[in-house]
Amino acid sequence: MREVAVVATAIHQVPALTDTTEVQLMVPLINAARDAVGLTQAEIGFTCSGSSDFLAGQAFSFVQTLDAVGAFPPISESHVEMDGAFALYEAWVKLQAGEIDTALVFSYGKSSPGSLRDVLALQLDPYFLAPLWPPADAVAAIQARLLLEAGKVSGEDLAEIAVRSQRNAVGNPNAVRFSPDMAVADVMAEVPVADPLRPSDLAAESDGGCAIVLAAGDRARQLCGRPAWIRGIDHRIDAHGLGTRDLTRAPSAELAASVACATADLAIESLDIAELHSPTTSQEAILVRELGLGAATEVNPSGGALAANTLMAAGLVRIAEAARRIIDDRADRALAHATSGPCLQQNLVCVMTGG
């Protein structure tokens, strides 16, 4: 396997971008990521982005956002209608092929102009579920209810996850919800939004974007003093139909993590940090269990997606947050996770190390 690393990251998340278009959001982010390693677009071998037309309300909206890249002279480019973490996977595969040494990955989501709960209903199957327009919170609450009824977690366990996220997010400029002193009792006193999920169990929605530069081998060493080497990356999918799955589990997350860790030749217990893309506290509880994370691993030091969930970017942000901690020498072994689809249907795991 060719050595590939994250060498630069840029993130911006706010509660709502009212005056700024997606293009105007991405111009400074893309430039910040490239400038951090002194690369111009002409020196980037491949560019891959992730976004959704359902958020923009426009067909082929990603083509307009390419204006932010400066795609002239013409560039080699691709797009996925998925979280940017999956765009990063495509770029990683391209780097493995050996034709290029650098790649730019970016993704963004501006969900504030529309209704996210309706947009997310449309990812369900079009015959039986989508016509019912179930709110995303309600779908997640069904999963959380099963988890509680199965005795796998308690309401207090979920509240503890919420409290940890809000505490860790203090000082994170890209978190939109944080609190240094929120307590489990405060969360338990909240009125549920979709019983059993309370407001603090649900991710704080945000608008924003993320840009990452990848580089291979010696090019990465030239560009960055301490690259975050991707030692294992894998993504897997569970069945789409919610009724066909045991919703208290996420076998695709377990498989992706075990493959990524095996490729990295790392035991899951040896990880310093894990950035998990969990849109609800209940989904974080499932992921911690499926991945087999131990007590030595700090979960979501940034606050995670609960502190700011930018649809289409939250997974790539997890990779950026984990990579930053390696690049800055605050961590040596990091796991980043991204999810897509209803109730943790698709899962990507990226294991990175500093050495």
């Binding site: 005056d19 278009t21 293009v23 893309i30 309300g57 932010a68 795609a71």
Partner: protein, 190 residues
């Protein structure tokens, strides 16, 4: 349905004799509270005053219309607005002989043209009228025909169409997107 041949749908016994579902309709509608950005808003508001606004690139001075807040060639933000005249030339065009369903007041054939305003590096779409369609040509100079002042809104629809000015044509090698590059080459030579 016993005895169904290969390729046919086999239904369980409980559904035998039931009228098969031939199609399903699941209407989808999403609503957006859309704000087109500050640069697009300035552009649309200026139309209400019969002004046309472009964005000038800080890299090489190229003026883009409509203004999008970015130079797409360089991925650089633009904030400098410039007023453009309502005169220019036809950079390219197409004569259409089919009507647009539901659109009134548009007789066929009609001429869609890429209008290059004087001073702009790129063209934008407009309708050319005021001469027979076979007389429309690349390089033909045109000016905007605006709606009456009392009917102006904050919309590009304020320009009803573009009509010939009768001035000499812009030579082909300077027409359309070539105009910006031709100007720059002259500057470099000078």
């Amino acid at each position: 349905m016993s005895g169904a041949s290969e390729g046919e749908v086999r239904l369980p016994e409980s559904l035998s004799g039931v009228e098969p579902v031939q199609s399903v309709r699941t209407p989808i509608r999403l609503e957006y509270d859309y704000r087109p950005s500050t640069s697009a808003e300035s552009y649309l508001r200026a139309y209400g005053e019969k002004r046309i606004i472009g964005h000038r690139s800080p890299v090489d001075g190229a003026v883009f219309i409509p203004p999008r807040g970015v130079d797409p060639r360089h991925g650089v933000a633009i904030s400098e607005e410039v007023d453009l005249p309502d005169t220019g030339h036809v950079g390219n065009f197409c004569v259409t002989h089919l009507p647009i369903p539901g659109r009134k007041g548009l007789e066929v054939p009609y001429v869609s043209a890429w209008i290059h305003l004087d001073g702009a590096a790129v063209g934008f779409l407009g309708l050319v009228r005021g001469c027979p369609s076979e007389e429309v040509r690349i390089g033909m100079q045109v000016r905007a025909v605006w709606k009456p002042d009392g009917e102006l809104g904050t919309t590009a629809e304020n320009i009803l169409h573009w009509e010939p000015t009768g001035e000499p044509d812009v030579p082909f090698e300077r027409a359309g997107n070539r105009s910006f590059h031709a100007d720059r080459e002259e500057e470099t030579d000078a």
